[in-house]
Symmetry: C2
């Protein structure tokens, strides 16, 4: 088999961990597999570098930021290859460039355009374990780029797709994908299997175990992905194509996201084109709007519009909305950062009715008010007061019997 | 003017220092100069990375070592470019590869083969300050290489040669080139000017202010080099072509080197080819032999041979010599690590006679025994007991009146 293994920051946090990773890779190779290893920067390293950058420059240029940040993964890749060499393996460390990861030129969040894996293929044929610095690529102009937070997941999945690997293992510090955050729902259960679609929703909705874009990529190229822990030998969760078994389960998991803020623009005149004007301005500022609620105006004259944005963009969005509010003659603007989004996800929802009602009822029974709702074919999200987050997760976990096998 | 400035590890040791360097570069640019800045890794960073490598692998592969070590300079280059950007300049950070520094494939001590400076030239024309990660290059096969200890000096001088720069400034933590180590000879004087030949001897003989190969390179391409401090505005020392003034001075400076060890092979049969056999074996082990002394045998039957090697190679050389000693039927082998090499250097020696005698007499007058002597046209080196190092330096400094202008 050809296996791509990705080890995140906590898995390579220090010399002991890097040696442990090398042992695990060694075992996989000794079992007769060809192995490509993708590594993140040692835990904390990227944040340290970002901190240094902001100390020398309040608004560091993104091209230089990418050059700076890419160094962390290079260090880990070199050290991991050395550790494998120390265990008697032939191992070669490749940078994003040497791995042939060509991206667009959108620095700090570049997209992979293609992978020219000639060198890696040759090295694998020659019996080398290939260790790749994750999170980075190179533009056609040979500038270093990075792929954004969680980018090493994407590196691994994209390499697995390019090499037509049999398996892509994402090693992290948790045992796999859980029905809910086990720190909040004590009877949360690790899933054996989950569909790409469900994983994509969970990742988008706040589950941090896999980067959203890497799930999209795995789905597009049909790469079997296993999420598992590098700290034990438990089997992990397989992310794969939807199958019959999965459809029997109505709800597979619960996600929550506390990193959103709600902005409400009060008593805005109820005229066509108002919402368009507002959200065009927000989009032009590169702020991603998640949920939108527009109340029906009681008198046909004025209405309230609420929307959520990432907390990091809340200030910018608030300033923008206040400006537009004046132009539109609205009464005012409110910001609420004490909110949380609770979501239930499951491919079974496609064939089961009444799931939404069940969710709303369960929350209502515990006095949890719903501020906004958004749905898709396989998920339902509710915006609630942040203080009810843990309660809502436990209530829904029980309601949909997620703790039971 | 086009000026290349190189800042060493202590000059960019932390954020405050990097900001100070940016201010200095900014000043140079504002005076109307085009500037290329070459930076080392932050002080201690390279040693830290070497330490990590040896923790994961007792004998790390050199290709991966280079990938590892090259990351330190990339960090400093990115941060320095950011700091310049913060001061309102257009600045771009280039890696060794982006600077077009092509080297041979001798990892950890690669030699620069050529510099394809297209990108840097274009950036300079567009008004950018170009910040280059020192110490590194890339092979024709696109593998990262490093240039060995002090390699950033070489990066700077080679770029200055390639761009036909008007000046190459090497910024360090001392004010320039001194007549002797000021920590040892309190009246040591900073030289205003020194010839390439003298600087080359001093660097080879243990003065650490400039890397030997960078001086060779500067001499070959006639690059004017100034060594000065980044911690003050003192003018530094100009390293340049020999001129009439320099020839008037007999001795320009004193160097000392405590990093050598002496190996003596006792009572080796006095036959032709013995020395050849010994030194071929040592050379084959990649150990550089510096001084060699062969005593004249009193009886024509056996002789003692002494030679010096770098202390780091002493153990390896000793084992090798012991093996050969047995094969040759010698009496035994001695190792002496308590030695020092004291050298006086000056282009004036070419036209002044009696300098050697003056040196030997001065040492003898203070009871300092000379174990070996080696000379060139512009230098005389004596091997002495290490405990006399400081005394010898002060005695010679006074004898040749180096403290006087």
């Amino acid at each position: 088999m050809l296996i791509v293994q990705k080890y995140g920051g906590t898995s390579v946090a220090n010399i002991e961990r890097i040696k442990a990773v090398a042992e695990r890779v060694s075992k996989t190779a000794k079992e007769g597999n060809k192995v490509v290893v993708v590594v993140s920067a040692m835990a904390g390293e990227t944040d340290k570098l970002i901190g240094l950058a902001h100390q020398v420059c309040s608004d560091p240029p993104e091209r230089e930021m990418d050059l700076l940040l890419s160094s962390g993964e290079r260090v880990t890749a070199a050290l991991t290859a050395m550790a494998l060499y120390g265990l008697g393996h032939k191992a070669i460390a490749l940078t994003g460039r040497q791995m042939g990861i060509i991206t667009d030129a959108v620095h700090t969040k570049a997209r992979i355009e293609k992978i020219i894996a000639t060198r890696a293929v040759k090295a694998l044929e020659e019996g080398y374990i290939v260790v790749v610095a994750g999170f980075q690529g190179i533009t056609e102009d040979e500038d270093v780029t990075t792929l954004g937070r969680g980018g090493s997941d994407l590196t691994a999945v994209a390499i697995a797709a390019a090499l037509n690997a049999d398996l892509c293992e994402i090693y992290t510090d948790v045992d796999g994908v859980f029905t809910a955050d086990p720190n909040i729902a004590p009877n949360a259960r690790k899933l054996e299997k989950i569909s790409y679609e469900e994983m994509l929703e969970l990742a988008s909705l706040g589950a941090k175990v896999l980067q959203t874009r890497s799930v999209e990529f795995a789905m597009k190229y049909n790469v079997p992905v296993v999420v598992r822990s590098s700290f034990n030998w438990n089997p992990g969760t397989l992310v794969t194509k939807e199958d019959k078994d999965m459809e029997k389960v109505v709800v597979s998991g619960i996600a929550h996201d506390k990193n959103q803020a709600k902005i409400t623009i009060l008593k805005v005149p109820d005229r066509p084109g108002i919402a368009a004007k507002l959200f065009k301005a927000v989009a032009d500022a590169n702020i991603v709007v998640d949920m939108i609620v527009q109340n029906i105006s009681s008198d046909g004259k004025a209405t309230d519009i609420s929307f959520t944005v990432p907390k990091t963009d809340a200030k910018k969005a608030l300033e923008l909305t206040e400006k537009i509010s004046k132009e539109l003659g609205a009464e005012g603007v409110l910001l609420n950062e004490d909110i949380a989004k609770i979501s239930i996800v499951g491919v079974g929802m496609r064939t089961h009715s009444g799931v939404a009602a069940q969710m709303f009822e369960a929350l209502a029974n515990h006095g949890i008010n719903i501020m906004a709702i958004s749905t898709s074919e396989i998920k339902i999200s509710c915006l609630i007061n942040a203080k009810y987050t843990e309660l809502a997760i436990r209530v829904l976990h029980d309601t949909f019997k997620l703790g039971e096998q």
